[in-house]
């Protein structure tokens, strides 16, 4: 093995070492910890880019890279697997982490102790969850990332954070127990926890064991849905994310995507064409229903949100609801666009979380409540038109920049042209409806109609909520204090939004990459062969 093969484990080892080293410094010397954190996080970005480059080649067999821990054979030891999906998620995590870290260096990192080590441990858990090819190992990495996230959610302390954190921890501990029940049932039925081995064996299981396996997988799915904040399992999310400090919330926006990732990965492996010899796809209708209910719940939540942080949290819920609904339609043609949507919406929500912290500086906390109640009761602002005319009032430059960023995020989140949110939704709908001649929409499945209505409606509601919040934040309060914003706080927001812009301009290549990722997921033979060796997929996993 040369160094390039060992790169697979680097996204786990690097933050582990960096975080452990920081524990020696934090508390006394925050500068050293911050420097280490910067080096490690940007190192992760470089590693993720290398891994994406490595897996982006045209050959599907070369795209799956396996790392055997301790060089044990795959059924016995734990394996790490890099394919297109996991390397893409690694890159997304690294980009958000860089932005959140730079933003936090302005002031948030000093508002509590152990910010930097926890940040690194959260990254380690996220990367591990994306890389692992073993179900129980997935549980362990889930716990690592959750343990770090408990600390980060409480970062900065305060009444609201502790109360939201208490609910968050309790819900996620129960979810972890549900996860364990699911994992042990899968083991009891199939006798293996290796995902590829499981997929290879599922076809040859007797009917009794298969019923147990499907029950176990459904219970696992419930645990993942809790992480993905699907209705009715996601009431913990808006409170927690809205209470968390801005850089932490931005990083958390990729955390719900871990649940989506796990559903994608395990759903496709266990219900793929190789495995499904007799086992019908199960749970699709439930996923679609859960996604639809999640989107509806989030739309109501958005309209009722009285502050921007709540609004951003509900847009996280909309994003994961959309992903669930798309997965539930069981249409391979739209998984690629859905992955594009996942990347675009995660970047946009991350930028929005950072942005609202800047906007909310220097405004009274009661402004937000007024914004909603004023409209609800039809009260007019009693602003006297100025004697000298208001046409010449200069808008402070910083407000103009923040306002422009707000407009871009609104366009991205609601999916209006010309930005990547629109491209994503358009591609999803085109894939769902475009089975036959677009002029006659007779052969369109009912699931596609549900998806169409949900996507358009959620975009419309997002637009209403964003426009209302934007008008109240930027136009109504003229005599407001201009927020003091530093360049290193504005730069991460700008970079994230620019990345979305690049995603729009380079939509062709990006969409092709996502499409190959999706087809690689669907034909899971490459994954199984990569992990177990070339003969395993045909012999049912038995050596």
């Amino acid at each position: 093995m040369n160094w390039h093969d060992h790169l697979v484990i680097a996204p786990i080892i690097l933050p582990l070492i960096a975080g452990a080293t920081m524990l020696l410094f934090d508390g006394r010397d925050r500068t050293v910890a911050a420097a280490l954190n910067l080096v490690s996080t940007f190192g992760l970005l470089a590693i993720a880019i290398t891994l994406v480059m490595g897996s982006a080649g045209p050959d599907p067999a070369a795209a799956v890279k396996v790392y055997r821990l301790g060089d044990w054979p795959a059924q016995f030891g734990i394996v790490l697997v890099v394919d297109r999906l996991s390397s893409m998620m690694l890159l997304l995590t690294a980009i958000l982490a860089c932005a959140a870290l730079i933003f936090s260096l302005a002031r948030w990192h000093s508002s509590g102790s152990y910010f930097h080590p926890l940040f690194q441990f959260l990254l380690m858990g996220l990367n591990g969850a994306f890389l692992t090819g073993d179900l129980f190992n997935l549980f362990v990495f889930f716990e690592v990332l959750l343990a770090a996230s408990y600390g980060l959610a409480l970062h900065g302390s305060g009444h609201a954070r502790v109360r939201a954190g208490l609910h968050y921890i309790a819900v996620n501990l129960v979810a972890a127990l549900v996860f364990l029940v699911g994992v042990s049932m899968v083991y009891g039925a199939a006798g293996t926890l290796n995902m590829a081995d499981l997929a290879a064996r599922i076809g040859s299981l007797p009917a009794r064991e298969r019923a147990l396996l499907e029950t176990g997988t459904s219970i696992l799915g419930v645990a993942f849905l809790v992480k993905a904040a699907a209705w009715p399992l996601g009431f913990w999310l808006p409170g927690t994310y809205a209470a968390a400090s801005a850089p932490v919330a931005a990083l958390f926006s990729v955390m719900t995507k871990v649940g989506i990732y796990a559903i994608l990965r395990i759903g496709f492996l266990l219900a793929g064409p190789e495995a499904a010899a007799g086992s019908a796809q199960f749970g699709d209708v439930w996923l679609l229903a859960a996604g639809a209910a999640t989107i509806l719940f989030a739309m109501v939540g958005m309209l009722a949100s009285q502050d921007l942080a709540k609004l951003a949290s509900f847009s996280v819920v909309v994003s994961s609801g959309t992903m669930l609904a798309v997965l539930g339609t069981n249409d391979v043609a739209i998984i690629g666009p859905a992955l594009y949507y996942l990347v675009s919406s995660t970047l946009a929500i991350g930028a929005f979380f950072l942005l609202i912290e800047l906007i909310e500086r220097g405004r009274a906390p009661t402004d937000d409540i007024l914004a909603v109640t004023l409209e609800a009761y039809g009260m007019e602002d009693e602003e006297e038109p100025g004697e000298d005319g208001e046409a010449g009032v200069a808008v402070p430059a910083i407000l103009a920049v923040l306002g422009a960023a707000f407009i871009i995020s609104a366009l991205l989140l609601s999916g209006l042209p010309p930005l990547s949110g629109f491209v994503a939704k358009f591609a999803i709908l085109a894939g769902a409806l475009g089975r036959n001649d677009p002029s006659t929409l007779t052969g369109v499945a009912p699931a596609a109609w549900v998806l169409l209505v949900l996507l358009l409606l959620s975009g419309f509601v997002t637009l209403i909520a964003m426009v209302r919040a934007g008008i109240r934040s930027f136009w109504a309060v003229i005599e407001r204090e201009v927020p003091r914003v530093r360049v290193i706080e504005l730069a991460p927001v700008a970079v994230l939004l620019l990345l979305c812009l690049t995603l729009t301009l380079q939509a062709g290549p990006a969409m092709r990459f996502m499409q190959t990722t999706a087809s690689g997921l669907h034909g899971s033979a490459a994954y199984i062969q990569g992990v177990l060796g070339p003969t395993a997929a045909s012999t049912g996993g038995k050596p």
Partner: protein, 114 residues
């Protein structure tokens, strides 16, 4: 044997869930602990219950798998115990912080019913 284990799992899980739904933080944490005991027993049961079968290979009689219990669920239970223990400790800290900040041990930080 099967009856005792399944009864134990059922009673532990039932009491755990009931306590979990109570309004006091201390009841919630005890409920979580009971629930995690139930889950640990469940994992153990998923390796099939065997009496008098060791999970460790005997050098003299290695090779006959039917004489041994499945060691993997036992390893999983060990990991699960460690993790749930750590999480309980962490939850306890947050519980104390919440108690200190809100002067109430209600899970919502204020007494209900008002």
């Amino acid at each position: 044997m099967e009856l005792i284990v399944s009864l134990a799992i059922g009673i532990l899980a039932g009491s755990g869930i009931w306590l979990l739904l109570r309004p006091r933080t201390f009841q919630v944490i005890i409920g979580l602990s009971l629930l995690s005991y139930a889950v640990n027993l469940f994992i153990f049961g998923m390796g099939r219950l065997r009496v008098g079968a060791p999970p460790v290979l005997d050098p003299a009689a290695a090779g006959d798998i039917s004489r041994y219990a499945d060691p993997l669920p036992q390893a999983l239970v060990l990991t699960a115990i460690v993790i749930s223990f750590a999480m309980t400790a962490l939850f306890l800290v947050v519980l104390l912080a919440s108690r200190g900040l809100t002067r109430s041990d209600h899970v919502d930080g204020r007494e209900g019913g008002s």
